[in-house]
Each structure stands twice: as structure tokens, then as C-alpha cells.
């Protein structure tokens, strides 16, 4: 649903030629926001700021990229976000202006677990040293002063290559705080954790998730430090530990500039530009291919494991023992009722929390457990479709029960069950698009990351959609080839 609305709104960009009605000149302070549609990210500091106002219409998005998109296509009049969010290159390219900056300045720091006092102390020590030798200031000038836009090397503190892992969660993929180029992380806060890692001689393991999942991961001990322009608020201080603030940020109110024509260039040129920007530039297609690999890995292993578990489950469901049947039906009932995402989060944050199993393995297990239920019902249905007479005929000829099942029943069941099994496999493939919630950079998440960098919805989503289509087709073909019994039985 979300994807559809993205594509629709992206298409709107292509066709709409409306001019921006709300010019920057009319917007000088928070009072002028009255009556306007203001976009921001759900759960953010700004969302709370806006919720206190009843004289404007707040639009809450789950990602910054979506909020920016809303501004670009005219669904929102104003976008409130970090002053670092949209750099000058992006603003001039899309005709966005900063109408004004909020008066409040919000202290910002890296966030740790409550019991992460030594880490936070070490970070404070790092910050003190960097302040003393002036390197913090030069870092801030480089990143916040937008010098990095001219210096394409994205100069950064060299990473520590060895040592115990320091697990970092970034809840943003935005320059200049923390962003990815060609598989490598850069940015101001990324440099700060690198400095910390160097001091502690630990190597960084960096994951990107949304803010909600990130906090959960930090809290349950699956990560050591969280970054991504996290403002120090009283609520957060109750649950987490912050180091000393390294900077104070102001809210920025972005609007479309006066007289900017939306959707000026021809469709083909825009698509061409967009393809270049989203896939070619900074080798972003590599994100797509690595995401694709991750998706394929999870899908294939989950199908294999789930298909095997499904056999056991099906055997239980058809067992003569009543308690085994009850266990199987309870399992199926549970799997039918629980949303896949919830199951995934429970396994990741609760069941396997301290197990050292990596996210991909957890995802494989979660999808396999769910798939087992579907596979088992596919097996059951197709076995039931083979008449009992076939079994009797096999037995009467002198085959053992096992031989009858393998030689007579199974080939016939496979034929009827294959389409059902295939559609379960394809459903699983599509279902894996939620693994981003446990910090796996799958195909969908790769598209999200690119969107986060380019603020362009259409191309990443389109590319991802096309790839899913092709994958589904290939998967269907593979299942059909593997599950269709050979023509010559002898």
C-alpha cells in the first residue's frame, strides 16, 4: 500500500505542473505556519513540537525521504527537520529554500545504554580531547559547513580494523550526519564514533534501522551506541544515557522557492536524470545488488528450512496421536494469527536476543517457521487430493507403506501441490521486504537507503519492484522445475 502511494505520488511529480503558491517571503516565524500543511517525521522532536499547535495541519511520515518527497510534490507546504537535512546543492537543484530557522537550539549527542557508562565516559574523553586540539571544530566545519560537498573524497577519520566489535546503530542515512557511499559510511557522527573506536581499539559494526527499532536494539543489548542526530530530551534521558552534547542544532523550516515550477523537464529527461542519480552515481546500484543477494539468501534458505519443517509439521498434523495433531494445529493457529513482522521482531529482540545469531539467520528462522505452516498445509491439501484408492492399489500390489508413499502418492501429490507451494514461496519472497526492521539491508531497504540519499521515490521503488517481479518469476520457475515429477516414471 505504501509502495503504491509512493509510486502514485511520484507519478504526480511527473504530470503536475502546478506552481508553488506558498513563497518563502510569507513565512518568517513559527506564527506564520498557521493554516499550512507541515510535514515532518513521526516520533521526532519536531513532531512533538507541531503536535502542540492546533492551527496547522501536521503530516507525519515514517522517513525523512518521504517527508521531503511530500514537500517536492506539493502535498506539504512546509517541511520541518534538522538544519543539516537538505544541503545547499540539493536545495538549489530542487528549488527548496530555508524559510527560517527555529530559535531553540537543541543539544545533540550520541546515545548509549543505561549500563554503558564506561563507553559514554570514553566518548566524553574523546570529545574533550578533540575540543582541546581543535579537531572537533574542524570536523564540524567540514561536515556542517558543507565543505564536503566540494570535497568529494568525504575525508574521514580512518577506521580501526581490529579488536572487539563496537556495534553502532545509525537511524539515519543522511549526509552530513551519517550516510553511505559505495558501501562505506561517512559523516560527522560517524567520525565521532570512529574516534571513539580508535581510542578503545575496537572495530565498528554499523547497521541502519529506523528510530523505533534502533532504540529497541540498543535497549536489548544488541547494539552499543546509537547515532543519527539524536536530540537530548528528558524522556530519552530516562531510558538511555547520553554523552556530552557535541553540538546544538536548530530546527529548519523548508519551503519551495517562489516561482519554482514543479515538473519542468520532459518525462524522459527526468527519468534519465533520476536513473543516473539513483543508480549510477556513487555506484548506488551496488546497494541494490547486495540487497538483492540478501533477499535471495533469506528467501532460499527460509524455503529450504521451512519446507523441511513443514514435512514434520504435516506428519504431526496427520498423525494418529491426538496430542501431536493438537500441537500441529496450535502451531498453525499461532502462525496464521501473528503478523510476520511481529514474529520477526519477537525472535530478534526476545528469543534470540542473546544468542549471537546474526540478523540474517534470525530472519531465515522466522520466515522458515512461518513458511513451515504454509508448506505443511500445502502438503496436506495435495496429499488429500490423491485418493486413498491409490495407496490401497500400491499396498495391494506388494509395495511397503513407505514405497507406496514415495512411488505412488508423492508424485501425484507433487503435481497438484506444486502451484500451491509455488505461491507460498512467492509470498515468502515478497514477505522478506520487512527484514529492514531488524537491520538487514535487503532489496527493499537498499531502495530506502537510496531514497534517503536522493529524495527520489520513483526510480528506487520502480527498480526494486521490477527486481521483485523478476525474482518472483525465477523462483516460480525454479519451484516448478524442482517439484514437477519426471515424466518417465521408470
Amino acid at each position: 500500500m505504501k509502495v503504491v502511494s509512493y509510486i502514485l505520488s511520484a507519478l504526480l511529480v511527473l504530470v503536475s505542473c502546478a506552481t508553488g503558491e506558498n513563497s518563502a517571503t510569507l513565512l518568517r516565524s513559527e506564527e506564520d505556519l498557521a493554516g499550512r500543511k507541515v510535514a515532518t517525521v513521526n516520533g521526532s522532536y519536531y513532531a512533538r513540537l507541531l503536535s502542540a499547535r492546533e492551527d496547522l495541519q501536521t503530516m507525519l511520515f515514517s522517513q525523512e525521504a518521504d517527508a521531503v518527497q511530500a514537500l517536492l510534490i506539493g502535498k506539504a507546504d512546509v517541511l520541518v527537520s534538522d538544519e543539516t537535512l537538505l544541503n545547499r546543492n540539493f536545495r538549489s537543484e530542487h528549488g527548496i529554500e530555508v524559510a527560517f530557522k527555529g530559535k531553540e537550539s537543541i543539544p545533540t549527542a550520541l546515545m548509549f545504554r543505561k549500563d554503558g557508562v564506561p563507553l559514554a565516559e570514553a566518548m566524553n574523553e574523546v570529545l574533550r580531547q578533540m575540543t582541546l586540539d581543535g579537531s572537533l571544530d574542524s570536523l564540524k566545519t567540514y561536515w556542517l559547513g558543507e565543505n564536503y560537498l566540494d570535497d568529494k573524497t568525504y575525508s574521514h577519520i580512518p577506521p580501526e580494523k581490529e579488536g572487539e566489535p563496537l556495534r553502532v546503530i545509525s537511524i539515519t542515512t543522511m549526509a552530513p550526519i551519517a550516510f553511505m557511499v559505495e558501501g562505506e559510511w561517512y559523516g560527522l557522527e560517524m567520525d565521532l564514533v570512529r574516534a571513539l573506536a580508535r581510542k578503545l581499539h575496537r572495530q565498528l559494526v554499523i547497521k541502519n534501522v529506523d528510530a523505533g527499532s534502533g532504540m529497541m536494539a540498543l535497549k536489548t543489548g544488541m547494539a552499543d551506541v546509537m547515532i543519527g542526530c539524536i536530540f537530548i530530551t528528558d524522556e530519552r534521558k530516562e531510558e538511555f544515557l547520553f554523552c556530552e552534547p557535541y553540538n546544538e542544532y536548530h530546527p529548519a523550516y523548508y519551503v519551495m522557492g517562489q516561482g519554482v515550477r514543479r515538473g519542468g523537464a520532459s518525462i524522459w529527461k527526468r527519468i534519465g536524470n533520476s536513473l543516473e542519480k539513483n543508480l549510477v552515481k556513487e555506484n548506488r546500484w551496488k546497494l541494490i545488488t547486495s540487497g538483492l543477494w540478501e533477499t535471495v539468501k533469506i528467501t532460499v534458505f527460509a524455503i529450504l528450512l521451512g519446507a523441511i519443517l513443514g514435512i514434520g509439521l504435516c506428519a504431526m498434523a496427520r498423525s494418529r496421536r491426538r496430542w501431536l495433531r493438537s500441537v500441529a494445529s496450535a502451531y498453525n493457529w499461532f502462525m496464521a494469527g501473528i503478523p510476520m513482522l511481529v514474529l520477526l521482531l519477537i525472535l530478534f529482540y526476545v528469543v534470540f536476543a542473546g544468542s549471537g545469531l546474526n540478523s540474517t539467520a534470525v530472519a531465515v528462522v522466522a520466515f522458515a517457521l512461518n513458511f513451515a505452516s504454509g508448506a505443511s498445509s500445502a502438503y496436506g491439501t495435495s496429499l488429500d487430493a490423491v485418493s486413498h484408492g491409490q495407496t490401497e492399489a500400491g499396498l495391494a500390489l506388494g509395495f511397503t507403506r513407505l514405497q507406496t508413499f514415495i512411488h505412488i502418492v508423492l508424485p501425484q501429490a507433487a503435481k497438484t501441490g506444486m502451484p500451491l507451494f509455488r505461491s507460498q514461496c512467492i509470498a515468502l519472497l515478497k514477505g522478506t521486504s520487512i527484514v529492514g526492521y531488524i537491520a538487514i539491508q535487503d532489496l527493499t531497504r537498499a531502495g530506502d537507503i537510496i531514497r534517503g540519499r536522493t529524495f527520489d521515490a520513483l526510480v528506487p521503488l520502480l527498480v526494486v519492484t521490477v527486481i521483485y517481479f523478476v525474482l518472483a518469476w525465477l523462483l516460480g520457475l525454479a519451484v516448478k522445475l524442482l517439484a514437477t515429477p519426471k515424466k518417465n516414471v521408470l
Binding site: 490401497e392 500400491g394 500390489l397 506388494g398 505412488i408 501425484q412 515429477p485
Partner: protein, 315 residues
């Protein structure tokens, strides 16, 4: 070859009650026997047949096959079934194979025959049942009669010592019954031991060496076709004699009784010829005797003869 002693079978219903289908079956089947199991529906004919190859394992009694108790736990049931073929009412051809593969499959997989040998034998069996030209056709393209003939060929391919037929023609259109029965007749001629559950009475009478008339979970009567089928109609004939002999003996000077048999050695009619009277002796009978006579016979014909009067009961 097969000895059945005190065989019983009961089912436990889901509601906890139990249903006894076979109560106490005793019989001996020898090599070359062709046994027809006849009797009303629901009297355990099919259950008895399926108990013999343990598709429906009995709950009591003994079955000895070549002297061995096949109900003992250690007896290899699949080996038994290799020697005891079965033909089903619903054919049960393997739907994912051609007719030829259906016939070849078990000999190759179970007996370990080479494909060449199995193919040769399968083709000769298919020729025997008149299905050679349908060898490479899928069972779904066959008529019921063709399916059943193919199923018989499949069964023969295992070279069984005895074949169990479970209502082999009951699922067929009347026009196709003949082709299946003629294959079975041919098998009988070749000396195959067969046990057949059937409702085709004429066929049973023609083909069987012995007939088991089953009723209420027992073998109610057992005998040659002549014994069974004659007994079936001689009983009413005897009853009619008992009813009318006293009446007719008094009615006339002389009484002659004649039984007429039809082509199947059944009693077809019972004639009473009473000499020396000119009106029907039935006129003097009690109403309840006449009523009884009508239930025992198909038709009652009364006619005067040169010597007296004749009453003919058609049975």
C-alpha cells in the same frame, strides 16, 4: 491354500460404540478354487475380502496362508500381497502413469525385473486383456471397462497365486460389464485361484467352483452353485408342498407333483395335478393359505386338464 478360522472384525465408531461387521467366518480355500461371495449389501463381503490381504486388518481369529498365520506381527504383509493380487471396484490405476507403466511398475520396482523383461510381459498381458493398443495411454483417457481390464493386467503382472476381486463390475456401465467378465472367465479357465465379491448372479453361478452366501457377518451358506441356487428356490417349493398337499390330496382322486427346472438348474415351477375334479381346488382353500402362496410364488396359474385340474406355481 487359505484357511480362515473364527475371523471377526469390528470397528470402533467415533462415539465410542462399536460395530461388528464380521462375526465368525470359517472357510478353507484351495488352489484352483473360484469362490464367489454373494449376499445382500452390508453383510461384510468386501470387508472379508479386504481382511484376506490385510487392507482391513481383522480384529480376531486366524488367517493361514500356505500354513502360516498372516496375522502374526512378524509376518511380512507386503510379501503376502505380492502373492495375493487385488482388483478394486474403483480400478485405482495409478493416474500419473501410462497403462503400460501401470503394468510394468511393480514387477520392476518390487520383483527387480529388467525393464525389457517387464515390458515384454506387460505387453503380452495387455494383449491378453485386449488393451495392447492402449498401452501408452493415460488411464484418464480410458472407459471404465478398459480401466478395469488394465487393472487386471497390472494385477497379473505380479504373477499372483490368488486374485481378490472386490466388486469388479459394480462401477461399470452395463454395456462394459461383459468385457470385464469375459477376461475373468478366461482367467478361470486357466485355473487361476480367484475370490470374487459380486452381484452378478449368473456370472457367479457360471464361473464359481463354490459360492459363499454371506449374511449378517457370517457365511450363511456355502456350496456349489447348484446347491446354493437350487436351495434358493427349492425352499419355497417345499413350503408350497407342505401347504397344499393336504388340501389337494383330499380334493381329488389322485395327486401328481412335478418340479420343473430351468437352464440354470433352478426350480422354475411347481405343478400340482389333481385328477377327477372339474373346478379349481384352490376355491376350497383358506384365505391365509392363499395369501401365503402368493408371497412364495411369482404367479399362480389354474387350468383344467383332460383328467382334472392343474395348479401351477411359477417361482
Amino acid at each position: 491354500m487359505i484357511q480362515v478360522k473364527h475371523l471377526s472384525k469390528s470397528y470402533r465408531n467415533p462415539d465410542g460404540s462399536s460395530l461388528t461387521v464380521l462375526k465368525d467366518i470359517n472357510c478353507t480355500i484351495s488352489k484352483g478354487d473360484i469362490i464367489s461371495l454373494i449376499g445382500p449389501s452390508g453383510t461384510g463381503k468386501s470387508t472379508f475380502l479386504r481382511a484376506l490381504n490385510l487392507l482391513d486388518p481383522p480384529t480376531g481369529g486366524e488367517i493361514l496362508f500356505e500354513g502360516e498365520n498372516i496375522l502374526s506381527r512378524s509376518y511380512p504383509v507386503h510379501k503376502l500381497r505380492q502373492k495375493m493380487g487385488m482388483v478394486f471396484q474403483g480400478f485405482n490405476l495409478f493416474e500419473h502413469m501410462t497403462v503400460l507403466e501401470n503394468v510394468m511398475y511393480a514387477p520392476v520396482k518390487i520383483l527387480g525385473k529388467t525393464k525389457e523383461d517387464a515390458l515384454k510381459e506387460a505387453m503380452s498381458l495387455l494383449r491378453k486383456v485386449g488393451m495392447a493398443e492402449k498401452a501408452n495411454v493415460s488411464p484418464s483417457c480410458l472407459s471404465g471397462g478398459q480401466k478395469q481390464r488394465a487393472a487386471i493386467a497390472r494385477c497379473l503382472a505380479m504373477n499372483p497365486q490368488v486374485i481378490l476381486f472386490d466388486e469388479p463390475t459394480s462401477a461399470l456401465d452395463p454395456t462394459m460389464v461383459g468385457e470385464v467378465l469375459s477376461v475373468m472367465r478366461q482367467l478361470a479357465k486357466e485355473g487361476m485361484t480367484m475370490i470374487i465379491v459380486t452381484h452378478e448372479m449368473k456370472f457367479a453361478r457360471d464361473i464359481s467352483t463354490r459360492i459363499f452366501f454371506m449374511y449378517d457377518g457370517y457365511i450363511h451358506e456355502e456350496g456349489t452353485p447348484e446347491q446354493i441356487f437350487i436351495a434358493e428356490k427349492i425352499t419355497p417349493a417345499l413350503e408350497l408342498c407342505q401347504l397344499f398337499m393336504p388340501v389337494f390330496l383330499i380334493a381329488g382322486d389322485n395327486l401328481t407333483i412335478r418340479l420343473t427346472y430351468n437352464e440354470f438348474s433352478e426350480v422354475a415351477s411347481l405343478d400340482f395335478m389333481v385328477a377327477g375334479i372339474s373346478s379349481s381346488p384352490l376355491e376350497d382353500c383358506d384365505a391365509d393359505i392363499l395369501q401365503k402362496a402368493r408371497t412364495l410364488s411369482r404367479e399362480i396359474v389354474e387350468e383344467p386338464t383332460s383328467k382334472g385340474f392343474r395348479v401351477k406355481f411359477l417361482l
